[in-house]
Amino acid sequence: MALDRRGFLKFIGGATAGILATPVVWKSLDDVSIWTQNWSWIPRNIDGANSYVPTVSKLCPSGVGVRVRLVDGRPVRVLTNNDHPLGGGLSSIAAAEVQLLYSPSRMKRPLKRTADGAYVGITWEEAETMLVEGLKKAKGGDKLAVITGDETGTINELFTALAAEMGSKSCFLMPGEAQPAAKAWELMGGEGQVGYDIEKSDYVLAIGANVLETWGPVIRNRRAFKAGRPHGETPSVRFAYAGPVQNNTAAGADVWLPIRPGAETVLALGLANLLIKAGASSPAADFADFKALAAKFTPEQVAAQTGVDAKRLAAVAQELAKAKRPLVIAGSEFGQGGGAAPVLAGLALNALLGSMNREGGIRALPYARKVVPAAMDRKALLQNDLVGWLGKVASGKAAAPQAIVFYEANPVYALPQTDAMKATLAKVPFKVAFTSFLDETAMACDLVLPVPMGLERFDDVDTPYGSGQVVYALAVPALAPLVDARPAGDVVIGIAKKLGADLGVAAFADALKAKAEARGASFTEPSATNAHVSSAVLPVNGIALRADVLSKAIDVKAPAFPVALAPVAKLNVGTSKTATPPFNTKTVRRWEIQGADLYVMMNGATAAKLGLQKHDRIELSNPAGKFTARVNLFEGVINDTVAVPAGHGHTAFDEFSKGKGENVMRLLAAGAEPGTGLSVWNSAGVNIAKA
């Protein structure tokens, strides 16, 4: 039978009807949908046994103690470590650390800058040869400078020892809270490092110090906050915060006193005045002078200078006086540049409250002894003022070094007057960065050397500033480096040898062992924390209140600008060393960054005064720099103040940070604090105009 066209169509019709009654179509559709989930670039789970490595975060400035969870030996997540003295929670930087191992801006091999400005990969042998040659030209007479971004590590001893062997004392820490505190404590005659026993306090007043976000070992602070305020029960501790912006600390505190930026010292002296009137005293030799100084800060005077009305000031003074174990913590609301005076005034308040050397008060913690003979110890390192020194280099009062070594520091992005500081650093002929990320500073260097990330190396955290006790925490690697990186400590030891210097330690691991021993720690047994706590404290005797220093420091006429500037620091956008981890981009708020635009915050009254509305594009300018931004209205900002989120506006790193927003540090002009000489940059102002 010949099949004609009609017959064929019938056949097809029958076949189609039949095929629909079989699994062919449905199964194929199902299989295709599964197949689309099978493409090779889709990440797959890898099954295996769980293991946990207790360590401490070197990336997060809080030095949080964590546990790294590994599956089949591969790190998958950073978890809390409730047993760790600096743990009990997780910071948003530590949480992102596993993902950052695979960051697109991670340094994968040593790089050198070629004549045309491009970076090319070189071998470690070539890199070390180049480093040795560069450093040879910087021998003698402070021709080598070291800038380190690690405030707590023994690694600093190796770098400073190398500098010392080269005849240089130009070693600096990146600015932070520790430096002004060390200065204040030293001026008062205190020994060791000042410590704050938040855990045992029943009333914590933070003046400026952003204790729940950027000040000190933040996660430990948060744990103390949480422990004192159990859910559904009566809190055993009250928190009060004074600062210009309702930041995360203000939001968590029971009391928020909005004060003008840079008015911390005045507020502290106003409280001191009220406490002294209520009978508070101090055995300090200069108490009479202090009392006379404080008496000038009447509630009316304080209200005029800080914006806090007399009733609210009196209420806080009364709460402080009534508390059994009050503690005052003073610092900078954005973690740097606040000067020594606020800390000094805050410590003086503690002295008036009887909080010195008391449970739930101020402790003097001993520094660990040096383990590298030629090194600069932490106390000496804290005395060197990086911003002040760079200012002198810029003005020609100090000679520019021949070579500069940056260790996990990003001064090209993170210093005040960023543009001027960058130009000053550019004067140095040979610049080397030890870093994990290709950051702004690395992009300005002749040689960039990758260091393993914190999860890939042995390292340590020794008693971060703010801790209430001596804590020595060891960082242990959870995995071998994923890139061609070498531990900076071992590289420095090797380089020193090639330069003919013996640093006295054969390997970085030996330095860590010696430091642990110096702190009385032993890590021979498996530990759930790899951390050691010591109850060692130094006596606190003969503390002076230094009214002489305070009277000079407060006698500052801030430059007259129509609007004060209050930077707002938050950990989720990373640090200058990390930029914003891709893991955290979802935590950047809607009206903080939109596309490339930065949103700055002001309250409705300030906006109305300036004739601005939400989303208006404005230019913020002052002699230090200028940039454009958009307006967001937020009633948690004091009058006549613009709050600018910090940590944005990177010009390096990856697509998640580069070119997003503006860097507030560009608007902060550094000056010298009268009485202490320390660089300060917490009282900036700006002009605002519609752009």
Binding site: M1, L3, D4, R5, R6, G7, F8, L9, K10, F11, I12, G13, G14, A15, T16, A17, G18, I19, A21, T22, P23, V24, K27, D31, V32, I34, W35, Q37, N38, P43, R44, N45, D47, A49, N50
Partner: protein, 211 residues
């Protein structure tokens, strides 16, 4: 064109013979596609693979008196280790114990070389399915059922307790998954069974399995 129209318009006047063979082509097409769809196609989309070693569960369960969980262990943290490693098999098979040539081959090729056997797994789920063996325990199910361990396992897995050789592994040529991979409706035999609600912690909410 006109002729064609004339021809076609004649349909029905010629006893149906002009209509392309009546219903027959339709039926032929139907039958051919049914045969293809139900008998040829299912066989065509899978490639057949055998396990690298012929493994007898029967010998281990009946002969050695072992239980499933002795080899297919839950780790201390509740995660499922799945298949035993060569090292754990070597706890007993450090040397050839019996007369089965497959055992000798296993010992020589794997135990002595330390190589892992690339066992074919019948029921790997995709990553968008979160399945915990720890949650599907005898304690939970035997609140009402009276399963033996091997019976509980066989609710989802091929019942291999009584077999002398592992079943053939049918691998889907397109997806790579085994033919025995459980589909969601099979999970729902228990998860959507309302008699289970309130008795076990099972729920049919999406987020229970799809994270």
């Amino acid at each position: 064109m006109e002729d064609r129209q004339l021809n076609s318009s004649g349909c029905g006047t010629d006893g149906g013979k002009c209509c392309g063979g009546g219903i027959t082509p339709f039926l032929v097409g139907l039958v051919v596609s049914l045969i293809f769809g139900w008998w040829v196609f299912p066989d065509m989309i899978y490639s057949k693979k055998e396990q690298p070693i012929r493994f007898s569960h029967k010998v281990h369960m009946e002969g050695a008196g072992m239980e499933c969980k002795q080899c297919h262990v839950l780790r201390e943290d509740g995660t499922f280790a799945g298949l035993p490693s060569t090292a754990s098999c070597a706890d007993c098979h450090s040397d050839v114990m019996g007369s089965d040539p497959e055992e000798a081959r296993f010992v020589n090729e794997y135990v002595k070389t330390g190589k892992e056997v690339k066992w074919l797994v019948y029921q790997i789920q995709p990553d968008n399915v979160f399945f915990s063996h720890a949650a599907h325990s005898l304690d939970g199910c035997n609140q009402c059922h009276e399963f033996k361990e091997s019976e509980l396992c066989a609710q989802c897995h091929p019942d291999v307790a009584n077999s002398d050789s592992a079943p053939t592994h049918f691998e889907n040529k397109l997806t790579g998954y085994s033919k025995q991979t459980m589909k969601m409706w099979q999970c729902e035999r228990c998860h959507a069974n309302e008699n289970h609600y309130g008795v076990t912690s099972s729920s049919n909410a999406c987020f229970v399995c799809h994270k």
